[in-house]
C-alpha cells in the first residue's frame, strides 16, 4: 500500500447524501475475479443515466479528491467500493459523515476518508464549483485540509494515521511480527497436517 503524507489535487463536488455502496459500485461488478480495473463500475448508474452527473463534466476530469454529502458509503460491506474509488484515481474522500464499514475498509486499503463539518463541506463545494481548478491539499502530517486560504483540521486516531503515513496495510503490520511467527512455527506440534504441493 502506498504511503499517504500530503496530497494536493483538484476536487469533485458530489452534492448527494446517503450514497450507498450499491451506487458506488453495482453488484454486477462483484462477479469479477480481479482486484483492479473497477473504475468503469464507479457510480456506473449515475454516469450512464445522468449526462450532467459531476463525473461526466469535463471541468472535473483528473480530480483526485471526492467531496461528498453526509453518510457516504452506507449499505453492503463490499470492499469493491473502495477499490473502485481508488482505481478511478481518488486519493481522498471528504464527507461530513461516513458509514462505519466503508470507513474501516477505506482506511485499511489506503484511501484517506476525511470528516469535515457540513458547513465547511458546503463552502468547499461552492469554491470548487466556482473554480474547478481550485487546488485542495489533504495533509495527514498536520491533519489539515487546505484550499484558497482556508485551513481546517480533521480528526484521525494516531494508530490509523501512523499506518497510513507508513503505508502499512494489515498484512504489512503483521509482517513486522515475522520473527514471532517464525518462533511460533518452530513450536508447533510435529504431527499437524501438511499438504504435499
Amino acid at each position: 500500500m502506498d504511503k499517504f503524507t500530503v496530497h494536493t489535487g483538484t476536487a469533485v463536488p458530489l452534492r448527494r447524501s446517503n450514497v450507498d455502496t450499491d451506487q458506488i459500485i453495482p453488484a454486477v461488478y462483484l462477479k469479477r475475479v480481479t482486484r483492479t480495473g473497477f473504475e468503469d463500475g464507479l457510480f456506473n448508474a449515475w454516469r450512464t443515466n445522468e449526462p450532467d452527473f459531476v463525473l461526466n463534466q469535463p471541468q472535473y476530469q483528473g480530480a483526485t479528491i471526492l467531496v461528498a454529502g453526509p453518510d457516504f458509503g452506507t449499505g453492503s460491506s463490499r470492499e469493491h467500493a473502495v477499490w473502485a474509488l481508488m482505481d478511478y484515481g481518488f486519493k481522498a474522500v471528504i464527507s461530513p459523515r461516513f458509514a462505519d464499514i466503508f470507513r474501516g475498509n477505506s482506511l485499511k486499503a489506503g484511501l484517506l476518508t476525511v470528516v469535515l463539518d457540513e458547513k465547511v463541506v458546503q463552502r468547499l463545494w461552492d469554491d470548487i464549483e466556482q473554480d474547478p481548478s481550485t487546488e485542495v491539499t489533504v495533509d495527514l502530517l498536520e491533519r489539515q485540509v487546505r484550499w484558497s486560504g482556508e485551513v481546517h483540521g480533521f480528526e484521525l486516531d494516531d494508530y490509523t494515521r501512523w499506518r497510513l503515513l507508513e503505508g502499512l496495510d494489515d498484512i504489512g503490520l503483521t509482517l513486522r511480527h515475522a520473527d514471532e511467527v517464525e518462533a511460533y512455527e518452530a513450536s508447533r506440534k510435529p504431527w499437524l497436517p501438511r499438504i504435499a504441493v
Binding site: 480481479t34 482486484r35 470492499e79 498484512i171 511467527v181 511460533y184 497436517p193 499438504i195
Partner: protein
C-alpha cells in the same frame, strides 16, 4: 479458574498479543475454493507477496461445479456459465502460480471443502482452520477452532498464515438425553436456532456439550457445528473424545505410530475445565425434540413437523411479526396449515450440512423399496467424490435410482444458486442444506430445511413427512 475449550484453542494459537490491538492468531490450515479467493491471490500478485505456507493451504472446486457430468473429466467445458467457468479457471491458474495444492473437478479427492478436510484427516482436534466460507464452523466438530473469513482475510492468511482477531466471548449449548426415534442432529440444531433466533450466537464461540452430543457420530457433530453460523455464532465446537479419535485413526493425514499416541494424549486435554465459566449458556432437553422443519425464510423460522404454519399475529415482538408475514407471503403459505400438508416439487439431499455417507445411508434406508412420489424431483448429491464412491460400493446409488431419484456428482449443488442445480421461481423444496433465504436455491425458490430422514420421507409422500408417517 479453569479455561473453556474455546479459550484453550485460542490461547494456544496466539502469536502476538498487545493491549489495544487484536490478537494475532496462527492458522494451522487454510482451505480455499473458487468463489472467495480470486481477489486475494490478485492482492498478493499486486504486492509481490508469495503464499507464506503452501503446505498449510489446500484448494478445491465446489460452489460452481455442475453435478451432472460424466467422469473422467478434463478441462472446464462442462461448465456452461461464463462467470462460473472463469472462477474455476482462475483458481487453477492461481494455485499453479502460487504452488497451492488443488483438487479440481474430476479428481478423486474433489468435493465440498468442508467434507474433504475431515475425510482426509486434515481436520484434527486442537487446530485453527479458516476458509472463505461461513460454514467453516463444520470443522469445530473435531474440537478445532474453525471459522469463515472474508476475501481480505483470505489474502492475509495466504501472505502470513496468521489472522488478527478480537477474541469472541464463549457460550455453552448443553443438550442432555437420548434423541427420540427419527430425531437427528439436524433437528437438534434447527431446534437450537429456533430457540435462540438467527442472531442469538452473535459474538460468541459456542461449545456444544452434554450427553446428546457425546453420543453423536462425527457426521452428526459436523451437521450441528456446520449450522453455528446460522444463529450468528463465530465458531461452534465439540470436545474431542473416543468417537473423534476412532474417526481419525488411519486417515491419510492423521498422525501415525508414536505421534498418534502423543497426539491423543494432547487431544484428551482439549476439554473445558471443571469450574471454567462461559459468558452465556443455553440448555435443551433432547427427550422433548421431534423432527424439525422450517416454514419461513431464515433458519430460525422453524417448528416441529407436527405443528402448523404459525400465525404472524401470535408473535409478541413487532419485528418477528413483520418478518413472519413477509416470510409467509414469499413462501406462499397460509397460517394454520399443518406443516405435513405442504407439498413439495423437489427434494435435495446433500451439502456440507448433510452430504456425508451417514446422511446418504439414512436417506437410502427410508427410500429402499419405495418410489419417489409422482411430480417430485429428488436430487441426491454426495459431498465428495469419496462419499460418492463409498455410497456406490454400498449400493446406495442403486437404491436411489431405483426409487426414481437422481444420483449426481459431488459439489455444493442445490444448496446455493451458483451452479445449474436450482429451483425454478415458485418451486418448493425440502432440502437438507443450511439456508432457506429468499432465492437461495434459485430465484423465487421456496426452501424448507429438513433432516435427511424427513427429506427421504417427503420424497416418497410428496409432502413434508417423517419416516414414521410412511
Amino acid at each position: 479458574m479453569g479455561k473453556t475449550l474455546a479459550e484453550k484453542l485460542w490461547d494456544s494459537h496466539v502469536v502476538h498479543s498487545a493491549a489495544g490491538e487484536p490478537d494475532l492468531l496462527f492458522i494451522d490450515m487454510h482451505l480455499i475454493h473458487e468463489v472467495t479467493s480470486p481477489q486475494a491471490f490478485e492482492g498478493l500478485r499486486l504486492a509481490g507477496r508469495p503464499v507464506h505456507r503452501p503446505d498449510l493451504t489446500l484448494a478445491t472446486e465446489d460452489h460452481n461445479t455442475p453435478t451432472d457430468y460424466t467422469l473422467p473429466l478434463a478441462g472446464t467445458a462442462s461448465i456452461k456459465d461464463d462467470v462460473s467457468r472463469m472462477q474455476i479457471e482462475t483458481l487453477r491458474k492461481n494455485c499453479a502460480e502460487f504452488g497451492v495444492r488443488l483438487y479440481p473437478m474430476g479428481d478423486a479427492e474433489q468435493g465440498i471443502v468442508h467434507v474433504i478436510g475431515p475425510q482426509l484427516g486434515i481436520t484434527q482436534p486442537g487446530m485453527t482452520i479458516v476458509c472463505g466460507d461461513s460454514h467453516t464452523s463444520t470443522h469445530g466438530a473435531f474440537g478445532a477452532l474453525a471459522f469463515g473469513i472474508g476475501t481480505s482475510q483470505v489474502e492475509h492468511v495466504l501472505a502470513t498464515q496468521t489472522l488478527p482477531m478480537d477474541r469472541p466471548k464463549t457460550m455453552a449449548v448443553t443438550v442432555n438425553g437420548e434423541l427420540p426415534e427419527g430425531v437427528t442432529p439436524k433437528d437438534v440444531i434447527l431446534a437450537v436456532i429456533a430457540k435462540t433466533g438467527t442472531g442469538g450466537g452473535q459474538g460468541y464461540m459456542v461449545e456444544y456439550r452434554g450427553s446428546t452430543f457425546e453420543q453423536m457420530s462425527m457426521e452428526g457433530r459436523m451437521t450441528v457445528c456446520n449450522m453455528s453460523i446460522e444463529w450468528g455464532a463465530r465458531a461452534g465446537m465439540i470436545a474431542p473424545d473416543e468417537t473423534t479419535f476412532d474417526y481419525l485413526k488411519g486417515r491419510d493425514h492423521a498422525p501415525k505410530g508414536a505421534e498418534w499416541d502423543a497426539a491423543v494424549e494432547y487431544w484428551t486435554s482439549l476439554r473445558t475445565d471443571d469450574g471454567a465459566e462461559f459468558d452465556a449458556e443455553v440448555t435443551l432437553d433432547a427427550s422433548t425434540l421431534t423432527p424439525f422443519v422450517t416454514w419461513g425464510t431464515n433458519p430460525g423460522q422453524g417448528a416441529p413437523l407436527g405443528a402448523t404454519v404459525p400465525d404472524p399475529s401470535d408473535f409478541a415482538d413487532e419485528s418477528d411479526r413483520v418478518a413472519a408475514e413477509k416470510a409467509l407471503a414469499y413462501m406462499g403459505l397460509q397460517a394454520g396449515t399443518p406443516l405435513r400438508d405442504i407439498k413439495v416439487d423437489t427434494v435435495f439431499v446433500g451439502s456440507c450440512t448433510n452430504g456425508r455417507i451417514e446422511d446418504l445411508r439414512a436417506a437410502a434406508k427410508i427410500i429402499d423399496g419405495r418410489k419417489v412420489a409422482d411430480g417430485v424431483r429428488m436430487l441426491v448429491v454426495p459431498g465428495s467424490v469419496r462419499v460418492r464412491k463409498q455410497a456406490e460400493q454400498e449400493g446406495l446409488d442403486a437404491i436411489f435410482t431405483a426409487a426414481g431419484a437422481e444420483w449426481r456428482q459431488a459439489g455444493c449443488s442445490m444448496c446455493l444458486g451458483m451452479n445449474p442445480d436450482q429451483l425454478a421461481p415458485g418451486e418448493r423444496s425440502a432440502s437438507t442444506s443450511n439456508r432457506n433465504f429468499e432465492g437461495r436455491q434459485g430465484k423465487g425458490g421456496r426452501t424448507h430445511l429438513v433432516s435427511p430422514l424427513v427429506a427421504a420421507a417427503t420424497a416418497v409422500s410428496g409432502h413434508l413427512a417423517s419416516p414414521a408417517d410412511l
